[in-house]
C-alpha cells in the first residue's frame, strides 16, 4: 500500500505537469480588454494539482497517512485476479460494441459473466443473455429512440425498424 501511495502521487504529479504544459498552448497571462487568457484557469488548477501531489509525497515520506504506514499489499492475489477479470471483461465488452454492436456484445458479456465467472446454469444464462438485449432494444431504440452502436449487424435491424415504424 505504501509503494502504491508513492507511485500514484508521482504519476499524478507528472500528469499535472503535462496538464500545465497543455494548458499553456493558450495564453495564461492577462490579455488587455479580455481578462485572463484562455489557458490561465486550467494552468493554475494544474499547478494546484502539482502542489497537492508534492504535499501527498511529503506526507508519504513523513509516514502521516494510513496508506503510507501500511505494509499490506495494495491488492492481494485474489483481489488482483477479480479486478483484472472484471476490467478486461468490460474492456472487451466495450470493444465489441465497435464490431458486433451493443446487441451482439451484451449477450456475449452476459454469457461470460454469468456462465464462466458466476458459474450459473446454461438455462439461467440463456434467459438473461436473450432477454436483456431485447429489453434494451425496446427501451432505447423504440421507446427512447436512442440508437446504440450496431457494428456489422446494422443491416439485420432494418426489417425490425420497418416493423415498428
Amino acid at each position: 500500500m505504501r509503494m502504491a501511495e508513492l507511485v500514484m502521487g508521482l504519476v499524478m504529479g507528472i500528469f499535472s505537469i503535462y496538464l500545465m504544459w497543455k494548458s499553456a498552448e493558450l495564453p495564461i497571462g492577462w490579455i488587455a480588454g479580455e481578462g485572463p487568457g484562455g489557458g490561465a484557469w486550467p494552468f493554475w488548477l494544474a499547478a494546484g494539482m502539482l502542489c497537492s501531489c508534492v504535499a501527498i509525497i511529503f506526507r508519504w515520506a513523513k509516514h502521516v497517512t494510513p496508506e503510507s504506514q501500511s505494509d499490506s499489499p495494495f491488492m492481494d492475489r485474489r483481489s488482483l485476479k477479480l479486478f483484472l477479470l472484471n476490467a478486461v471483461a468490460i474492456t472487451v465488452f466495450i470493444g465489441l460494441f465497435h464490431i458486433v454492436g451493443a446487441y451482439g456484445a451484451i449477450p456475449i458479456f452476459l454469457i461470460f459473466y454469468l456462465r464462466f465467472m458466476g458459474g450459473h446454469s446454461w438455462g439461467l444464462t440463456s434467459a438473461f443473455a436473450l432477454s436483456t438485449p431485447v429489453i434494451t432494444f425496446l427501451f432505447f431504440e423504440i421507446a427512447l429512440q436512442k440508437t446504440l452502436p450496431k457494428g456489422f449487424t446494422e443491416p439485420l435491424f432494418l426489417p425490425i425498424f420497418d416493423f415498428f415504424y
Binding site: 494548458s23 493558450l26 484557469w41 486550467p42 488548477l45 501527498i56 465488452f93 466495450i94 465467472m117
Partner: protein
Amino acid sequence: METLTLLIDGFAIAFEPLNLVLVIVGCALGLFIGAMPGLGSVNGVAILLPMTFLVPPTGAVIFLAAIYYGAMYGGAISSIMLGIPGASTAVATTFDGRPLALKGLADKALVAAATASFVGGTISVILFTLFAPPLAEVALTFGAPEIFALMLMAFATFVGLGGDDIPKTLFSICIGLVFGAVGLDIISGEPRLIFGGLPGFFHGINFLVLAIGIYGIAEMLWTIEVSQGEVMISQASVSFKRILANLRELKLTLKTMVMGSFLGYFVGILPAAGATPGALMAYGLAKTISKDRESFGKGNVDGVVAPEAANNAASTGAMLPMLTLGIPGSPTTAILLGGMVIWGLEPGPLLFVEHKEFVWGLIASLYAANLFSLLINIAFIPAFIWVLRLPFTILAPIIFILCIVGGFVPTMDMHDVWLMLIFGVVGYLMRKLNYPMAPAVLAIVLGPLAEPALRQSLLISGGSFSIFFTRPFASVISVLALILLLLPVAKLLYEKYLK
C-alpha cells in the same frame, strides 16, 4: 400566503397523471437502486439521467428527484439485510441496523428506517417550502463575484468539513475543475486541452462520463473486491401485524427522529457536506444524548432512526442551494443540476421568477415522493429482500451494462464510453488510496460555471482579487470560504500546541 398559493399550484402540477406516474416509478426505481450494494442515489440519478429526455423538463426533474428520494430510503435496506451500505449515506445505518437484523429483528430495523426517512423527509420539505423563496430573493442580487465566492465556499467546505485527507481533496477538486475546462474556451472559442487531438474532446467531458465512471464502474469494482463473493443474507419475516407493532414502538424514538431531521437538513444545505456527514453526525449526537449509550452498535433502534432521518432531510436540504443559488449541496444534486442545465432550466435565483411552475411542481412532488417512498418501501420490503438474494454475479453484469449504455446515450459517442472506463479504473485505484472522489464530480459540474464567474469578476476589477472582499455578500462568503480553507491548519495548530 403567496407561498401557500404557489404550493397549491405546485400540487396541481405534481398530481398531473404523467408526473404522478413518474413520482411512483421514480420512487420504486430509487428504492431498488439505493438498496443495491454499490449503488446509491448518485448512481441512480447518473445512470438514469439519459433516460429522461423523453418527458418534459418538469417531469424529468420530478422523476430524478423521486429516484433521489427513493434511493435515500433504499440505502438502508442492504445496510440492514447485508451489512453492506447501499450507499455511503447509509453507512451509519449499518452500525445498529445490522446487529438488529442478526438478532432476528430485521423487520423492526427496516420499518424504523422507513418511518424515520419519512419523518426526516417531511420535516425537511416543510423547511424547504418556508425558506426557499426568501433565499432566492437574496440570491437575485448576486453578480459574478458573489457567484464565484459561493463556488469557492462549496469547495472550501470539502476541505474544511469533508474529513478526508486535505491534499488528496484539493487534488480531487483541481482535477475535476481541469476536466471541466476541456473543450472550447468559452471566451476565445479556441480548442483547449484536446488530448491527442482526439475529436471527442472538442465537446468537452460530459459530467456524466466522470460520474458514471466513478459511481458506476469504480464503485462496482470496489464492491466486487470488498465482498469477494461472500455476501451474507439475513432472514426476515414481515407481516402487517408486525409492522403495526413496530410502528407503535417507534413513538419512543420520535425525539431522535426530529433531532436527526433538523440536523440533517442544515448539514445538507452546506455545499459539499451532504447526507453522509449529516447521517454520521446525527448518529453521533443520538449516541451522545442517549441514556443507553452502551447499547449503540449492538442494535439500538435510535441508532437506525437518527441517521435515516438525517440522510433524508439532508437530501432535501442539498436541493435548496442547488435550486436557489445554482450550488449543489451533494454529488447527486450536482448531477441534477447538470440535468437541469441540459433541459434549459438554469438553476439560480431567476428560476423562482421565470419557472415558478417548475419550482413549485418540484417542491410539491417532494411531498408526494416522500409519502410514496414510505408506502412502496414498506409494501415491497419482502420483494427487495428477494432481489438482494440474487447472486452478485447476476446483478454486477446488469449494472455494468447500464453504465456502458448510460455513458453512451447522452452524446452518442463511443469516445465517452472509453473515457468512462478509464475514469472508472483510475477512480477505483484512487479510491483504494483514499482519494475522495465526490469533490471531483462536484468540480466538473461547477467548473464551467466557476470559470466565467471568475473571469468576469477579474475583468470588472481590472485583474484585482480585491473585488471578492469589497462587495458586501461576496466579502462575507469569501471570508467564510477562507476560514473553512484554513480550518484544517487551525485544527492542526490547536492539536499540536494547545491541547
